[in-house]
Symmetry: C2
Subunit: 438 residues, 2 copies
Amino acid sequence: MLEGYRGRALHVLASINADVGDVIELNSDKVHLRGILMPSYSKDDSIVVLKLDNGYNVGFSVDKVKVSLVERSSKKEPEKTESNKPGKVKIISTGGTIVSKVEYETGAVRPALTTEEIIKFVPEIQDITSISANVLFSILSENMNPKFWVKIAESVKRAFEEGSEGVVVAHGTDTMSYTASALAFSLNVLPGPVVLVGSQRSSDRPSSDSGINLVSSVLLANQAPFGEVVVNMHGESSDTYTLAHRGVKVRKMHTSRRDAFQSVNDLPLAKVIWKEKLVKLLRTDYRRKSDHIEMNAKFDERVFLLKFYPGLKPDIVELLLSAGYKGIIVEGTGLGHTSSEFQEAFRKATKEGVFVGMTSQCLFGRVNMNVYQTGRILQQAGVIPLGDMLPEVALVKLMWVLGQTDDLEQITKIMLKNVVGEYNPRHLLDHFPRWKHE
Amino acid sequence: MLEGYRGRALHVLASINADVGDVIELNSDKVHLRGILMPSYSKDDSIVVLKLDNGYNVGFSVDKVKVSLVERSSKKEPEKTESNKPGKVKIISTGGTIVSKVEYETGAVRPALTTEEIIKFVPEIQDITSISANVLFSILSENMNPKFWVKIAESVKRAFEEGSEGVVVAHGTDTMSYTASALAFSLNVLPGPVVLVGSQRSSDRPSSDSGINLVSSVLLANQAPFGEVVVNMHGESSDTYTLAHRGVKVRKMHTSRRDAFQSVNDLPLAKVIWKEKLVKLLRTDYRRKSDHIEMNAKFDERVFLLKFYPGLKPDIVELLLSAGYKGIIVEGTGLGHTSSEFQEAFRKATKEGVFVGMTSQCLFGRVNMNVYQTGRILQQAGVIPLGDMLPEVALVKLMWVLGQTDDLEQITKIMLKNVVGEYNPRHLLDHFPRWKHE
């Protein structure tokens, strides 16, 4: 099936009896290219799209090149993928750029493709192991919320129970690290890897990272020895490797770079060199696979992430209490501070049973509320310092803890417990990235 | 005056007729050290404190070493500093660790020293140029707010008008970058450098960065050719150099490291190699010194910094409107998103004349609200994308703009204008730091 092709390109491809997945050559005076014929989503009906060996997709007009068929696809036809039978690796698609296509009319991107279509985009994954897939939902990740987290957790649990040994969750990148935390806390005993993967560039752009990210994620889900939730994305801006970051220590640190996801206050767990089909473990302190799965996926959304800044008035705490919030994660300055005039408001909140936890807007390093006077008076008001937990992770964890209990003492105890590596007790100099200064 | 010395240490020092600022030698079987005698803030009255050539302070008990006087201080006595006469460089002290001492009783740090005492701590600065100083106030920077920003701006203006050619502002590090932005916007025509400086480790700790940071800042204020507000702090974790970051492009990126301050989406303006008294310009696109100063220091504090996260309900916008906020800076996900259910709330806000601007919690990169559907519907609701401006800078800028006008069209126009380099139209690969992965 020459999916997406129309007009002149369809005519040329049909005339040489080519199909998506076949190896094709494009030749002209200037161009000599060989690659796999991809589906087309081009508005221009003269374009054929080829996936090159280096992973890039290119499009050329049939008016400018001679198209010839080199080799029939040896791959199993994706249409025949029995996606309802459990594969060793299960791909759960939730939406996002990795499963999106561009509306050429507006230039905007919409989630659209089914997971079967992803398999067709990256047929290589079927050489790794048996794959099954389902489209759980198709939303942009900025619209993700705790109710969806529960559905993803349930779907992951089902996949393992049905016999899959590793799970890949295709997800938009905007809130992928929040979902990673949510899955890490709610599935904190796992029989295999759960790999969240996204794409910073949509799959029809030549610089798309979706193919390599997905192949690497299937490799990870198939080979990695851990029972952990990780985020697997480009490790550098070129296409050499991806990195598997612990789900509770990763952050999207750039709006557009392909290596936007980075571990903060931590090192990645593994590196995947997709060309060599190699999963290289970078650490030994990962959580081993368990012989069973445990799920505890309840979240209370009444948690607020309050970023402190000069001029912020303590009244905001009153507002949040009156609006029914049950927990506040403060993103304080430096070692974990707000202005000292917040002391009374926080005291009132904690007296009412509202948990107030302190993280730092510096992101790197850890809060320490014993160094300065301000830290000590905030602690006297009941504010709990949360070490090196990222603000976003503390937020998700508190939603999860409030899903289990509303007893402040109990909440505090679980918030301070290192459940899945969200605290890193030991920081190395290398955890801080190096800036280029000249 | 043997400041701070009591008991045995005072007795020994007085017996050899030594004074603070003199060169002293400490000798024992194991120790041979030479350095400048510093004031003492030790609870232990046997300790003498020496500043070594490498910039470190060390403390030794007089019970364990023999103390001898090597050389009288050639420095002008700090007590004789005529700090009310304008120096070529003016130091304005506002508080913070750089002017703090440790309460040995509790281990906590309090702002305490006067600026004259700083000069005594770092007598080298008097070799650079003539220095004058005043203590404007003495607060920890987490208690800084827009009212204090105005006072600092006025004090800087006065210093230039009285004949100083460069100004150093000693400031706590917690909110130093907010103050840097506030000064950059409110003093956007400057006849010389305004250098904010702080310290991540208090001056009586051996690893203190306060001495080198202050010396480098005086060098900058004296030598730099620009009329800009910069933050000057350690450039790496050892004591080799400091970096002058543009005030509107810098962020405290670590809770405790000495090189916590880093330029985001930008490169530093200058590097100061204090040992060589060298100010090395790293860029040529700095703002030249003007022949006059302009001040426009009014801030409206009714601005909220709203960090979006999954599960956040649009009701918060209603709450903010009802509480009288006039502007909202959203720290959205990825390229500048919130969940699409915020569309209505933002539309209502902007219809009521409340400015809503979008930045990214990724921090690195720039927002682009034309790529995804969500971005476009938020723009239709009146949300203004703010490029690569940091969320904290956008917040301060909006407070400043609201101090000038409450006309939404006018506010939008100034928010989008590149006033002092808060937008960087050109990002280089090197603007993204390099993470160590294995």
